[in-house]
Assembly symmetry: C2
Homo-oligomer: 143 residues x 2
DNA sequence: AAATAAAGTTAGGTATACCTAATAAAGATA
DNA sequence: TATCTTTATTAGGTATACCTAACTTTATTT
């Protein structure tokens, strides 16, 4: 089983891989704001659980299993960010809140949220729901 | 500072208080599916942090501070449940997922979610957004 | 190539939260 | 009231995840 934390590290590694093309323990530490020993420990754990391939002082490479999981986590993260932005949360809070929300949610909720976000995104311009929503918020402000 | 766990216990105590009129450590243990020693430990901690008043082998009473926090947590929980139900999650999953989602979310997200749920709930019947949404899901099913 | 700097690991320790087994207190019943 | 049952606590131990300080390995510079 994967813990919340393993998921966070996998996601961080995925993002670094994506951005820099390689992954250094130091960068993981910086991104997650933890100490380097903490990263060492988690790398060992992820390696033992076959999410990554790793040799001491060497590089980090995803296994198929790890890649699949990392992608899944990343998708879930983006889904939450998208939703949060739809309801008006700022980019920054959307990012940090998504990191917290994305764990331990039932598959049903993921599916529903996905469909809801899709539905909203695909609404025709003419529906104007967003304008209505903003108008609603404005009215509330004035009370 | 309160941890995620303290919040879970406070919420459980609040709900039991509400339902039975009094709170026994045993009931907390059952509701949260933890052992009774775990409950003893948390009761001690909550008491030390002035969220509840407690004496060994005695009853549990909220302080003002504890009451306020418990209410806040409960409201947040209900907000998530409401939202999850709007997007079509079953009552049961909505309840369990809300328990997980309700922690560590930024105030901005709470506000946005609240306003969004309010907005959706107050839409006139004539808006028919729900029908559109269901129709959208049905069409997807058929692909 | 040797010295220095940077990156990674190990050792040892903290905090949270959990558990089982054993013990103590309270409450119910014979 | 004494016994038995239920409930609560303490003792002792596990697992996760974190930290600092000390050490090792790798990489860079001179």
């Amino acid at each position: 089983m994967t813990t919340r934390n393993m998921e966070d590290y996998l996601e961080a590694i995925w993002n670094l891989q994506d951005k820099k093309g390689y992954v250094k323990a130091k960068d993981i530490a910086e991104r997650l704001e933890v100490s380097r020993p903490s990263v060492s420990g988690m790398i060992k754990k992820l390696s033992e659980n076959n999410y990554i391939l790793y040799e001491k002082y060497g590089g980090i490479v995803f296994t198929e299993k790890g890649k699949k999981l990392a992608q899944k986590i990343k998708k879930r993260h983006n889904l939450f960010v998208e939703f949060l932005k739809i309801i008006g949360v700022s980019e920054q809070n959307a990012q940090t809140d998504a990191c917290r929300l994305e764990h331990d949610v039932s598959p049903e909720t993921i599916t529903c949220l996905l469909e809801f976000v899709e539905f909203i995104s695909l609404l025709p311009e003419s529906s104007k729901w967003k304008e209505y929503f903003q108008e609603y918020l404005k009215k509330k402000d004035m009370l």
